[in-house]
Amino acid sequence: MATPLPAYVAQRRTDWDALQALLAKQRSGTLKLGELRTLDTLYRRASADLAHAQTFYAGTDVHRFLNQLCGQAYASIYQPPRERWPAMRDFFRREFPATLRRERGFVGASAVLFILGILLGALVVLWEPRGAELLVPAGVRHYVAQGRMWTDDILSVAPPNSVASGIATNNLTVTIVTFALGLTGGLGTLFLLVNNGVHIGAISALCAREGMLGGLLDFIAAHGPVELSILVIAGGAGLMVGQALIDPGELPRGQALAVRGREAVKLVLGCAPFLALIGVVEGYVSPGDMFPTWLKAGLGLVLGALFWAYLLRAGRTEAEATGAPADSAS
């Protein structure tokens, strides 16, 4: 027969209290090196006590208390490596581009869907002019009918910095939603990609018919390449999630989701700062005629080329350079 419960608690409680105090210190970051050893010892003792309580005092409050205490200690002792500045630098230097290259199949599929959407929208409007009434927002049609660009008025109502921040946050939200909709089995992402493509295609076709294609290109030349690339990458992330949901492969579905979700979110997190930067370009450079068209187009091409050069070259390993590694996703 084990010791009676109150006697057991009275005997062991000092250790538990000490462990709790040390854990609080660890959490607030004031733990000293010497105390670390004590923490370890106390944790092991509490674990032994928990095993004892499981056997002799199952279902009592002492059991629950020890469970929780060991749970907290376990969480603070077996911490994953701190993901702070060095990890962040490493992420942008190597991990994000490498992830993108590994998942290029999904990004490619997303690009194909997006381009199909553009073609669909453009063809519909070119063949059947009244299709524009269906596919192009009324506000834009109104401007085009007057022969003006709807983007000309952006800067007359707000200063460029608030335009830039508004556009950047809006684009980030679209990116996040594109990724998160992967949880619908990829259908939501698919719809968003095609839908955005159809919109852009339809608007371009409408502008082309009204002879305003130059104005449209003038507006999107500077930010378009990078912004649309990022939309496509976010679409790829959403498709990854959808694929894990539909076809988890050899893992149980729950595990496959967790593994693929972790990979997919890297694409979204990696794109976020670039999207914020391109919002600045879209707010300051793209609207109005402060910069000539050739400068905007040149800037857009250079930014796009730099972005893709970074994605395709940064942190490339020897194995990747010589040939595709065996475990690359198709």
Binding site: A7, R13, G59, D61, F65, G71, E83, L181, L183, A258
Partner: protein
């Protein structure tokens, strides 16, 4: 015996002990969200008033600031919508303010704390969990999954565990010495269930109706008390003496 099994997370530690952590259900999670949401709401209420004051420029000195103010407003709304959750979960060990108030915490499915990626996944998925309105998708998912996880948790491989506040003082509280009692040291030792039963009765006794208090006390004395009827009758004269006896009985084995 335990009543209906509550959902829990089993963790096997390298110390070869199985941890069983209780999982936070839909009620805790909704309350925690409400706390966070109202916190953000009041923050924006204040920020909005400050902002309109700046823009209307009553004092005429903030002209240069209003553009900056607009930018901050837009960025701030975005930050509270998306960044607040992940930043607090990463820096405060899986807890936002609301989760801290409710005593719940985000952990991975193996019980370890969340990192940046997991937290980002589960919070970015709020976009889908919120659909079609007010987290309807999340609620359905929480009701249907065994461990009460919403869609974002499923994708991130995380769940929420509950932290209970357990008072150990009741085990070690000093016996009241107001009334000298016969210490029946020869009595059979109490089983842990009996101890737990008596202690939970003692902690609840002050709130019970007098007759219920008396009746429950008598039944417990019957279970753990002295065997001969005379001593038992002496103990049962009043609620105070009954509880004093029970307390002494539990503490007796010290």
């Amino acid at each position: 015996m335990r009543s209906a099994p509550t959902p829990h997370l089993d963790v096997a530690t390298p110390e070869r002990v199985a941890l069983t952590l209780p999982i936070a259900g839909i009620g805790y999670r909704c309350l925690a969200w409400l706390v966070d949401a109202s916190l953000l709401f009041f923050f924006w209420l204040v920020a909005y008033f400050v902002f309109t004051l700046l823009v209307s420029d009553v004092l005429g000195v903030f002209q240069a600031l209003s553009g900056v103010g607009q930018t901050l407003l837009v960025v701030g709304v975005f930050a509270t919508q998306w960044l607040y959750w992940t930043v607090s979960e990463v820096f405060f060990h899986g807890q936002t303010v609301g989760k801290r108030v409710l005593g719940i915490r985000v952990v991975r499915t193996d019980g370890s704390p969340v990192g940046v990626y997991e937290s980002a996944v589960r919070n970015l998925c709020r976009a889908v969990d919120f659909l079609p309105m007010l987290y309807a998708a999340a609620c359905v998912s929480m009701l249907l999954t065994r461990q009460h996880r919403r869609l974002g948790d499923l994708l991130a491989g995380t769940l929420l565990v509950r932290e209970e506040r357990i008072d150990l003082d009741k085990y070690t509280a000093a016996p009241s010495t107001s009334e000298p009692l016969p210490q029946d040291t020869g009595a059979r030792p109490l089983s842990p269930e009996d101890v737990e039963l008596v202690l939970s009765f003692l902690s609840r006794a002050p709130g019970l109706a007098p007759e219920v208090r008396q009746r429950l006390g008598a039944r417990l004395v019957e279970r753990v008390g002295p065997d001969d009827a005379e001593a038992r009758a002496a103990v049962l004269v009043s609620a105070e003496s009954t509880e004093a006896f029970l307390r002494a009985r539990v503490q007796g084995a010290r």
